[in-house]
C-alpha cells in the first residue's frame, strides 16, 4: 500500500486540555518519518493513538490500513514499538526476554533476535536489572525488530543515552529503511533526525505546523538575514513577494525565515540602499524547527543597557 499511516483530522482532549488539534498527515511506506515537537506537544499521545491506547475525540487513524482501536492485536503483529521507557521485566535475562516475547510472534523471531543481540554485543545471561540504560534500550529495540515488522515506531528511544548507543540505533533505523521498511520516529535529537529523516513533521502545542520531505523543506525555505541602516524607513517591498514564516529582530538586524525566496529577490535586496549585510542561507533543521515553533517576538532592544523590553513594538513588517 502506498501509505503506512494515515492520520485524519485527529482531536484529543484530556479533561479541559486539548492535546491534539486537527492533526492530519500521511506517512508513505518505505521512508524514515520524523515527528518533532517540544515536550507536551502531543507526540506521545499521537503515537499512543496510533497503537490503539487512546480513543480519539474526533477524526480517525489508519495504520497499515487497520483501525488501532478496533484491531489492536493485528496492528501489534505488524508494528514494532519502542517507547521511551521500555518496561522490561527486571528479573529476566536478555535471552529469557527474547524467549518470552517469541511466544507471541511466528517462527523466526528467536533467530532474528539472536542476530540483533550479537550485533549489539549484549550478554545473553545478564539480567535486565543489571544492564545499563543504553543496553536496555538496545534490548527493547531488538525485541521490536525481531519479528521484521513493516513499520517500526520509535518514541524518543535514545533520550538520555550515550552517543555510541545512539549511533547503534541510527544504524538500525537506516538498515530498516534500506530494506524498504518504514520507520516512524519521534525525537528531540535534531542533528540525528537531520541525517536520517526522509520526511519531517513538526508538532507544536497540539497543532501540526508543517509536514513535508526534509529535502523539500530545506530547498524551499531560506534564512534571510539583513540589517537596516535607518530603522524609521519602511521594510523593502520585495518582502511582499515571499512568505515570511518567522521573524526575529535584534535591534536593527533582522533574521527571517521565508518561503519562496529567489536569487533575484536576494540580489534586489542587496541593492537596496537601506539594507546591508544581506545574506541568504539554506537552513538546517534546527533553525527550521525553531522557526516553526517559536512565537514572533522581538527580543532585546539595542540600547546597550541589556534591558528586556517585551512590550517594545518596533517597526513591524508593513
Amino acid at each position: 500500500m502506498s501509505e503506512m499511516i494515515r492520520v485524519n483530522n485527529v482531536c484529543k482532549r484530556f479533561g479541559k486540555r486539548t492535546v491534539l488539534k486537527n492533526v492530519s498527515f500521511q506517512v508513505p511506506s518505505g521512508v524514515v518519518f520524523a515527528l518533532l515537537g517540544e515536550n507536551g506537544a502531543g507526540k506521545s499521545t499521537l503515537i499512543k493513538s496510533m497503537l490503539g491506547y487512546n480513543k480519539l475525540d474526533s477524526g480517525n487513524i489508519a495504520v497499515c490500513g487497520l483501525d488501532p482501536v478496533n484491531q489492536p492485536l493485528e496492528i501489534r503483529r505488524k508494528v514494532g514499538y519502542v517507547s521511551d521507557a521500555p518496561g522490561l521485566y527486571e528479573w529476566m535475562t536478555v535471552a529469557q526476554a527474547g524467549w518470552y516475547a517469541s511466544g507471541f510472534y511466528p517462527q523466526g523471531f528467536l533467530k532474528t533476535y539472536g542476530e540483533r543481540i550479537s550485533d549489539f554485543q549484549l550478554p545473553h545471561d545478564a539480567k535486565i536489572r543489571d544492564l545499563s540504560k543504553g543496553m536496555r534500550a538496545k534490548v527493547a529495540l531488538s525485541l521490536a525488530m525481531a519479528f521484521d515488522p513493516e513499520l517500526l515506531i520509535l518514541d524518543e528511544p535514545t533520550s538520555g543515552l550515550d552517543p555510541l548507543v545512539r549511533r547503534s540505533f541510527l544504524e538500525s533505523m537506516i538498515d530498516r529503511a534500506a530494506a524498504g521498511q518504514t520507520v516512524f520516529l519521534s525525537s528531540h535529537q535534531i542533528q540525528e533526525v537531520e541525517r536520517v529523516a526522509d520526511w519531517v513533521a513538526i508538532l507544536h502545542q497540539g497543532s501540526l505546523q508543517i509536514v513535508a520531505p526534509l529535502e523539500e523543506l530545506k530547498s524551499s525555505i531560506s534564512i534571510l538575514d539583513f540589517s537596516q541602516r535607518d530603522p524609521l524607513l519602511a521594510m523593502p517591498a520585495e518582502l511582499d513577494q515571499v512568505e515570511v514564516l518567522h521573524k526575529l529582530q535584534v535591534g536593527r538586524s533582522f533574521h527571517l525565515m521565508v518561503r519562496g525566496l529567489t536569487p533575484e529577490i536576494v540580489s534586489s535586496l542587496s541593492q537596496n540602499a537601506n539594507l546591508f549585510e544581506v545574506k541568504s542561507i539554506r537552513p538546517n533543521l534546527e533553525e527550521l524547527y525553531l522557526g516553526f515553533t517559536q512565537p514572533f517576538e522581538p527580543r532585546l532592544s539595542d540600547d546597550g543597557l541589556g534591558q528586556l523590553s517585551k512590550n517594545a513594538k518596533n517597526s513591524e513588517v508593513a
Binding site: E171, I174, D175, A178, R195, D198, R282
Partner: protein, 132 residues
C-alpha cells in the same frame, strides 16, 4: 576513505557526498575500478538516510563517475579522474568567487585585496612544495 558529512553547513547532504567522492577520485584516493561501499553500507557508515546516498550515487552514475556492477556493488569508472579534476576545479572556482564577493562587499578595495591574494598564493605554493 574518510568521508564526513556535516548536515549543518547549508550544503545538502547528497551534494556533500558527491563532492567528497569527486575529490577522492581527483586525488587518487579512489582508483578507477575500485569498489565503493553499497548504498546500505555507506548509509550506515555515515549515518545518513539511504535515499540520500542513493541520490548521490545516482547522480554520480549519470555523470559517469560511478558505475553499477551487477551483483558486486558500485565501482569507479575508468576515466572518471579527468572529469573529477575538472569538477573540483569548478568547485574551487566557485568558492574563490564567493570569497572575493564577500571581500568586495565587506568594503575591501582592489589593491588591498590583490596584496592579500598574492601573499596567500605564495604561502600556499611554498607549503605545497614542502609536502611533495
Amino acid at each position: 576513505m574518510q568521508l564526513s558529512i556535516d548536515p549543518d553547513n547549508g550544503i545538502p547532504i547528497y551534494e556533500q557526498l558527491i563532492r567528497q567522492i569527486k575529490y577522492a577520485v581527483a586525488e587518487g584516493i579512489l582508483m578507477p575500478g575500485q569498489v565503493i561501499p553499497s548504498v546500505r553500507d555507506m548509509a550506515k557508515q555515515l549515518t545518513v538516510n539511504p535515499n540520500t546516498v542513493q541520490r548521490a550515487y545516482f547522480q554520480l552514475q549519470s555523470e559517469e563517475i560511478l558505475q553499477s556492477l551487477r551483483g558486486r556493488g558500485v565501482a569507479v569508472c575508468e576515466g572518471a579522474k579527468k572529469q573529477c579534476v575538472v569538477d573540483r576545479q569548478q568547485i574551487l572556482a566557485e568558492r574563490l568567487s564567493a570569497v572575493l564577493d564577500e571581500a568586495i562587499r565587506g568594503g575591501l578595495d582592489e589593491d588591498r585585496l590583490r596584496t592579500m591574494f598574492e601573499k596567500a598564493l605564495k604561502n600556499a605554493i611554498r607549503s605545497g612544495e614542502k609536502q611533495s
